[in-house]
Structures are given as C-alpha cells and as structure tokens.
C-alpha cells in the first residue's frame, strides 16, 4: 500500500473544508459529497435483525464506539427485533469465520462489518454481499459490493488538521517529536505521512518518530529520554491522543514548559488543555460513525436512499474556541468527546460517566 498518495491527500484536504449535507447539528447523519445509492431491493417490512461483526474492542475508541452503536440501536426498538454483536477479538481469521457463521445462520437481515484488516476481510464480505445487504465502516474492504462504506474524511485529513496547526504555531527550524501508536496500520500511517509532508514543507524538523504502542508508561519514558538528550522539543505531534497527557507529564516532571501539542478528542487531554491553557488542537476520528452504521442499516432495510458507495462523514477538530463545549467533567478520562452520544439513551453512565 502507498501511504503517501498525493491525490488522496488533496481530496481529503478539500473534504475537510467541504460543507456537509444532511441534518444540521447531527454530524453522524451528515455526509460529504453527493453520491447516493438506491436500496429499494433490500426493503424489508416488519421487525428486522441486524448483525454486527466487530473487529474487537481492544482500545478505548472502539469501546466508546460500541456503546454508541448499542445506544443507537436502542433508539429503534420498534423496528429492530434484535442486534446480534459478534466480537472477533482482533483476529482476522476469527472475523472471517464469524461473518460466515452469521450469514449461514440465516437470522440476519442486514450485516454491519467493522473489518479488522482491509484486505483480509474482503473475501468474506464479498461472500456475504451475495446474501444480504452489507454495511462497512471505519476500515474499508477492497470491494465495491457493500451497500455503503461509512467513514470520516480519513487519515490524511487527521494529519493535515494537526500538522497545519502545529506548523502555524512554530517557527521554521523548530523541532517536533512525533509519537505514533504502531506501524503498518493504514489509517495511522496516512496520518503521519500527511503531517510529515506539511512539516517538511514548513521547514520544521521532526526530531524523532517513535512508536508507543499506546502505552502511557512507555510514552512518558520515551519523551523523558528525548528531554534528557537535551534536545529542545517545541511541539509534540501524535497520531492518536490516548497517551497525550502522559507525554505532557514528562514535560511537567522535568520542569519544562508545555510544548505545542496535537492530541485527539479524549476528555483527559481536553481537561488538561483547558486547565493548563495549552497551545493545542484535538483533531478527531469521530466515534459517532458507529451510530451511522445502525442508521444506514435501518435506512437500507427501509429501502431509503443512502449516501454511497462511500458515506463520508465530516471530521471536525476541537479547537481553542470550542474547547469548553466538549469538556465534560462527568466523563471518564479516555472518553471521546466527538461521540455524538450526549442525547442517546443511557448517557453518561453507559459510557462510564458519573451522573
């Protein structure tokens, strides 16, 4: 795969500034661009069963997302007989078997798939498409057969938002430390390549690019090592915000001023940002897309037109001016603020918040 695709970079840059269509204030129901697909042939009356093959819940992002999905399903109790969720525990092989079992089980009227790996799940999804409507979200598959593929703007967009913010706050020749989760995952690789392009263009030096495995202790140690090396770090760029506060603590513990930082939309980062008055940005890969999956599935079974073959969701970023709106003291530290879940049943307890 090519993680540095100028065309895709350009397209996503445009999408970031595009005005979304759809209901105002409900970004999970909005879409960018005009493509729609017809789904009349999938129309089904009466109560329906939706099946969801989940790649897993191996990180807080997916935990919040799954809660969104379940809560959204609750909104449609009258139409939805049952939501069957099957978890693949991060194993491609298991997810393929799971999908096969769901399809052959014959209970499902529509299938939602959040693939663990793009290429791996392609054949299984293709096979499923022949039997029932399939909706894919988050990571995609290498086939056009699903009714629609739901995703926010994408990795380049994430990298562009964060990279441009940092570049705008730094002088030419300043140092930025890039903290990444792990190599080899397309949505993460594209975030970095986009940001790197922008830094290179702006003459900002990437002093290091390190993988943290989203481990807070490791993150803090890595940053401390960079500080101990005596290198001046003006900004920290991250491809995901789970460990943003750990990185900031390294500066605290060393008695240094905070760097410019790009995190994500997690509560702990937003709170720190607010209380310490950081120069920061919180780009997002919004978890509300998990709601969209249910909405899309039901729309398809209603025979309504849905955005497709790609349903591109807006991908907002949290900035200084809107920060206060997203800080919610009730929510747990790693809650993703752009969950679009504030109005959903069970908020905030379902997401681990305090009443």
């Amino acid at each position: 795969q090519d993680f540095n695709d100028p065309a895709e970079f350009k397209k996503q840059r445009e999408q970031l500034s595009m005005k979304p269509q759809g209901p105002e204030g409900q970004p999970w129901a909005q879409h960018l661009g005009d493509g729609m697909v017809d789904t009349a042939k999938y129309k089904k009356d009466g109560q329906v069963t939706i099946c969801f093959s989940n790649a897993g819940v191996f990180n807080p992002w997916r935990v919040v997302g799954l809660n969104n999905l379940n809560a959204e399903a609750e909104l449609h109790k009258d139409r939805l007989k049952e939501l069957i969720v099957v978890d693949a525990e991060g194993k491609d092989d298991k997810q393929i078997s799971d999908i096969e079992a769901l399809v052959s089980g014959g209970k499902c009227d529509a299938l939602i798939v959040s693939p663990n790996t793009t290429a791996a799940l392609t054949p299984a999804v293709e096979a499923a498409c022949g039997k029932l409507p399939v909706i894919v979200f988050d990571r995609g598959v290498n086939t056009q057969c699903p009714v629609t593929y739901i995703h926010p703007v994408g990795g380049y967009g994430f990298g562009i938002t964060s990279g441009e913010f940092i570049a705008s706050k730094l002088q030419k020749g300043a140092n930025v430390l890039a903290l990444r989760i792990m190599p080899g995952v397309d949505v993460l690789e594209t975030r970095y390549s986009a940001a790197k392009n922008i830094f290179d263009e702006a003459g900002i030096k990437v002093v290091g690019s390190e993988f943290t495995g989203s481990d807070r202790a490791k993150t803090k140690s890595i940053v401390e090592d960079y500080i101990n090396r005596g290198e001046k770090i003006d900004a920290v760029w991250m491809d995901a915000g789970d460990t943003a506060t750990a990185a900031l603590e390294a500066f605290e513990d060393a008695g240094l001023p905070y760097p410019v930082i790009s995190g994500e939309d997690q509560q702990d980062f937003l709170r720190k940002w607010q209380s310490e008055k950081l120069t920061a940005i919180g780009p997002s890969y919004p978890t509300y897309q998990w709601r969209t999956a249910i909405i899309a599935a039901l729309d398809v079974l209603d025979g309504k037109q849905v955005p497709g073959p790609e349903w591109v969701l807006p991908q907002p970023a949290i900035t200084e001016d809107v920060l206060a709106k997203y800080v919610d003291e009730r929510m747990p530290p790693l809650h993703y603020s752009l969950c679009g879940c504030q109005e959903l049943p069970g908020y905030p307890e379902r997401w681990g918040g305090k009443k």
Binding site: E89, K91, D92, S97, A101, S104, G184
Partner: protein, 325 residues
C-alpha cells in the same frame, strides 16, 4: 518416575482424554445451538464453519505438540506465522506463477528458523522458553522493520486453499485432516516418533540408549516451525495478504501451548499426542462459536476462557501424584 499406578495397566490411555474432550466440545456446541435457536449452525455448513475455526490454530498446535513431546517448547511460532504470511503475499504479488516459489521460500524460512531454534535448544543448551522467546522477538522486529517494503497480496488461485473445497469440504479442512493424520502416524508408527517420545520421556536415558538426542530435538523444532509455516500460508490464503501482527493477535504461541496441554500432552515431554491436541483445538473452536451464539460480552469471554483453560487441564492433571510447578 512414578510408582503410583497400581497394576501394570494397558498402554493406550491417551485416547480417552481426546474423545472425552471432543465429546464435551461438540456437546457444548450442540446444546448452545439448540438453546439459542441457531439450528442452522448444526447443518453441514454450520459444522464446516465450526471446523474451519480449527485450521489455523490446529496446524500450529500439531507442530507445538511435537516440540512439547520432545520436552521443549516453541514461543516463536506466532512471529513465524506472521513472517510467513507477509512473505508469501510479498513474493506472490498476486501472480499465480509465483505460488510455488513463494511456498518454497516460506518453508525454507521455516526450516531455517526451526534449525536455529533447535540448535539453540539442543546444542546451545539454552532454555527453550528463552531461546524461542528470543528468536520470536528477532523475527517480529525484522518483520516490523521491513514491513514497509514487504507488502503484497497472494494470488487469487492460492486463496483456493482457504475458500475452495471438495464436495462441500474446504480444502483447508482436508489439509488439516491430512496433516493431522500424517503427524499422528509419524508419532505412533515411525522411528522418528518413537525417538521423540524417548527423548522427551528421558533425555539421559535416550542418549545412553544410543539416540542422538540433539538431532531429535532439532528435528522436532523444525517440524514445529514447518507447521507454523503451514498455518501462516493458510492464513495468507485466507486473509489475502499478511500483516506483521496476525500471529501475535491470534496469540498462536500461548494458545497452541494451552490446547496441547489441555489435550493431555505433558509439558515435561514424553507423553501425549496429536489426537488430544486436536480435541483441545476443537474445544477452543466450539467455545468461540458457542460464545458468539450466546452473545457473550467480549471481556466476559476472556474471563470464561481463562477459567476453562485451567479447568480443562485440572480435570486430568489433578490425578497426578507427581509434583508440578
């Protein structure tokens, strides 16, 4: 050596564990399917789906059984599976003409890894846990570092292994069946098998009996690596292209050890066999499928699996009079 058994008993006591375990697993699956109304899971297609869940873990575990029988252990299989899957897709690049070269190169890699593992353990005298943990780390590191250049996808024709079939039975299941039978045959009926049990059961005794124990240990490691390779190739076919994490995410190292021990092969070596291991794999597959039907929460599933691993081993371990550590 134990002196606990009362009377000189019959030799074949390995069979009951595997049959009992297989029976329990199937029973669980059937009961759950009936209870949740998923009757279609009991159809031919459902059963094939259940068995298909065994293939990847089954292949590694057969190899793991060989090393555990010989008194060693292999923690590097997970990394090797990833390496093979990545390498196979890289070499093929979708080109059917490259299928054979890719397979050969991958098996060559496995051979090399098996030889290194075996040499470290048998000739270097390094504790197998540490030796294979080390080689696993090395493979994993090289793989992750070079993944940027090692991309690709297997040929469509190669995917037939995972998606094609004969009379409704997937080739991959046939492959597992054939390799299991072959492994069982080797262990039970051949010189090599007898030597494995001898070396695992009493390495000093085996040496004194004239067996070149180092070679046997080394060969067992090669077998384990080759089976890991088979598993990696199967996964490549099933997943179209390998990622450096599939082995690790599949936890094939620890799970293959767990199912082997659940199947009645003892960690000290010298006792056990492939049938038990496959029954252990079947147990895991039934749990996967059953938990899906029951809609067990992902985290609770982990809790249950942990408890079941302990319980499944305790069932037959509790009778041992010897001390275990």
């Amino acid at each position: 050596m134990t002196t606990d058994a009362a009377k000189p008993g019959p030799a074949r006591s390995g069979l009951p564990i595997s049959i009992l375990l297989a029976g329990l697993s199937i029973g669980f699956f059937v009961v759950v399917a009936l209870a949740t109304g998923e009757v279609s899971q009991l159809s031919g297609q459902g059963i094939v789906g259940l068995l298909q869940r065994m293939v990847a873990l089954g292949l590694v575990s057969i190899g793991q059984t060989f090393v555990i029988l010989v008194g060693s252990i292999d923690l590097s299989v997970a990394a090797l599976i990833s390496a093979v899957a990545v390498l196979a897709s890289h070499i093929m690049q979708g080109d059917p003409a490259m299928i054979l070269p890719a397979i050969l190169i991958c098996l060559g890699l496995c051979l090399a890894v098996g030889l290194v593992n075996g040499a470290l353990v048998a000739y270097g005298g390094i504790n197998p846990l540490i030796a294979t943990l080390g080689t696993g780390l090395i493979i994993q590191g090289v793989l992750a570092a070079s993944f940027g250049v090692l991309q690709g996808a297997v040929a469509r024709e190669f995917q037939v292994i995972a998606y094609g079939g004969l009379l409704g039975v997937p080739y991959s299941l046939l492959l597992l069946a054939v390799l299991s039978l072959a492994a069982g045959f080797v262990l039970d009926r051949t010189l090599f098998g007898a030597r494995i049990y001898a070396v695992g059961g009493n390495p000093d005794g085996a040496r004194l009996a004239g067996i070149r124990t180092e070679r046997v240990t080394l060969s067992a490691h090669v077998v384990a690596s080759l089976f890991a390779g088979a598993s990696g190739l199967y996964l490549a076919a099933r997943l179209q292209s390998g990622t450096p994490w599939i082995g690790r995410d599949g936890i094939y190292d620890l799970e293959s050890i767990a199912v082997t021990v659940i199947g009645g092969t003892i960690l000290a070596g010298g006792k056990g066999g492939v049938a038990g291991t496959l029954a252990g794999v079947l147990l895991f597959a039934s749990l996967d499928a059953g938990f899906n039907m029951l809609g067990v929460d992902a985290f609770l599933k982990q809790v249950l699996r942990g408890a079941i691993v302990i319980a499944a081993v305790a069932v037959h371990a509790i009778r041992t009079k010897e001390h275990v550590a």
